[in-house]
């Protein structure tokens, strides 16, 4: 049976395929509107959502079909099996209301890579990530999904086991770079659309509509709040002339970002807060490291206080393997709130027993530079994201290998400057030792040359 292996690779045998009929095709207008805003118009050229099986050549026409169908879903009625009476109903599925899952909250995606190609092996494969961003019912997660998982369910840990969304496009490519994010359509508005469509198309289908799973918990009409964890609010968008990137508030009038975002000292900078939205404060670059410094850092002093923005606690220790989160304005910039991606602290590189570089497995994209790297559990600030990785020979970019400047390198100088206005500590960053430079040039450290005896 199945693969002819005579084995049951995933426990008990699968159910035999059951015939079904199409009741209706449906889409969520709000999803399509947000999709057009974030991925349409001039951005359309950059984005591709091809979901083809590996050996399929995808023609332009097919790609256009896939794009048109991206936000569409289908409601099917499954024919009753011969022993329907004996079938278990299983636990009732519950749906999370839109907005009830916080940005950065863990999610579990469940889909079957390559669809019905090899269900014995791939049916209901799980993948974990977090809710990375949300624009109405258009959600993004960094849980890795593959072609064939379109339509698969995405579940939350809280409310426990609730269906949050369905996969709309597993692979997103921006400017031919895989961004490591999966596009989702929130389940609650989709099922509301299904209910409305069923009643209009099949007037006698009230019983069918009643079968659609209910939303759990919160009464309707709650205002959609940005539920990101408090530490995520410290991330800001930094705009300096035509260049923009991310940054993090470290004191009531102090923001740290990368030099390549705000390179010129005394240049005017506009800092956009994530919460409250649409608040922007002018500032000026009071320090930026030299090009020769391995620490790509700039400091911006603001003309007003950052009211209501929680200041992150700088970490003092780093633990390889600990869960971490990156918050930044990569991928969408100002078109969307900050993006949260999750991973682990994959390496802490030290020189003379002092951490000088952090690496993570979070997805980091262009525009994330200058943003904060947090410990997911404590919310402590671990570092400032400086770059991801590009293979110069192939031009390929690797979002999930990235480099941050440990906060322990910066904290004493930032504190000194914040309290006294003295830049001496920060200027030390321009005098980093050669071994630190070698590390940040991703070069192998030179072995200690044997001294000549002569």
């Amino acid at each position: 049976a199945g693969l002819g292996l005579g084995l049951q690779p995933r426990g008990r045998p699968l159910q035999p395929p059951r015939p079904a009929e199409l009741l209706l095709l449906l889409s969520c207008p709000a999803f399509r509107a947000h999709f057009a805003r974030l991925f349409g118009a001039e951005a359309a050229e950059q984005w591709h959502f091809v979901s083809a099986a590996p050996d399929d050549e995808v023609s332009e026409e097919e790609e256009e079909d896939q794009l048109r169908a991206l936000g569409w879903f289908a409601l099917l009625r499954v024919r009753r099996g011969a022993d329907a009476e004996g079938e278990e109903r299983g636990p009732a599925l519950a749906v999370a209301p839109l907005g009830s899952v916080a940005k950065g909250a863990p999610l579990l995606a469940c889909g079957s890579p390559f669809g019905a190609f090899c269900p014995d092996i791939f049916l209901n494969t799980l993948s974990r990530g977090v809710l990375s961003n949300a624009a109405g019912p258009l959600l993004l997660t960094d849980a890795r999904c593959l072609p064939g998982t379109e339509g698969g369910g995405v579940f939350a840990a809280r409310p426990a086991g609730a269906l949050v969304a369905l996969v709309a496009a597993p692979l997103c490519w921006k400017a031919r770079e895989w961004v490591g994010l999966t596009l989702l359509c929130a389940a609650a508005p989709l099922l509301q659309a299904a209910r409305a469509a069923l009643v209009r198309l099949h007037p006698d289908s009230a019983a069918l509509a009643a079968l659609l799973p209910p939303e759990v918990g919160t009464p309707r009409g709650l205002p959609l709040r940005d539920l990101a964890p408090p530490w995520a609010s410290a991330a800001v968008l930094v705009e300096c002339g035509s260049v923009w990137g991310s940054g993090v508030a470290v004191a009531s009038r102090l923001v740290v970002t990368c030099r390549h975002v705000a390179p010129r000292e005394s240049a005017r900078v506009l800092v956009h807060l994530a919460t409250p939205k649409s608040v922007a404060i002018w500032g000026r670059v009071t320090f930026a490291t030299q090009e020769t410094s391995p620490y790509d850092i700039a400091v911006v002093s603001l003309e007003e206080d950052l009211d209501g923005v929680p200041m992150p606690v700088p970490a003092e220790h780093f633990h390889e393997g600990e869960p971490v989160s990156v918050v930044g304005f990569g991928v969408f910039g100002q078109a969307c709130g900050p993006l949260v991606t999750s991973g682990i602290l994959s390496a802490v590189v030290q020189v003379d027993d002092a951490p000088v570089m952090l690496q993570t497995t979070c997805a980091v994209h262009g525009g994330s530079s200058g943003g904060p790297l947090f410990s997911t559990h404590s919310g402590d600030l671990l570092g400032i994201v400086a770059s991801n990785t590009r293979d110069n020979s192939t031009g390929a970019t690797y979002p999930h290998l990235n480099f941050s400047i440990p906060v322990t390198v910066l904290q004493p100088a930032l504190q000194q400057y914040s309290q006294t206005g003295d830049l001496c500590g920060l200027q030390e960053l321009d005098r980093a030792t050669e071994p630190v430079k070698v590390v940040w040039r991703l070069q192998r450290p030179l072995p200690n040359a044997p001294q000549s005896k002569l």
Binding site: L3, Q15, L26, A69, A74, L108, G115, D120, L123, L211
Partner: protein, 110 residues
Amino acid sequence: MGRQWGPSMRSAEQAGCVVSASRAGQPDVGSWSCSGVILSRNPGLVLCHGGIFTPFLRAGSGALTEACVAFLPGDSCTDDLRLHVQWGPTAATPAGRAEQGRPGLCTPQC
């Protein structure tokens, strides 16, 4: 995975399924398939992705981008559409057959 994922894993396992679409009488043309979510059992209601239906749309995929069209009736697809849904073991039913795998994927040494 930690205890916090218990309920989600159970929900995912119970609700997860695959949906395949093919043309009646043309099994050799192959099928289109995707994942789905079982919304209700007995009677069975499944929600899956709409992408596998574009080859069957009578009016072509353009019908999906018409303004103010948020849903289409089932008969917007051609009559030769055949759908099958398959899910994991949930009930004591006779052993099933899985569709034979197609060559195309391998596990290269890396």
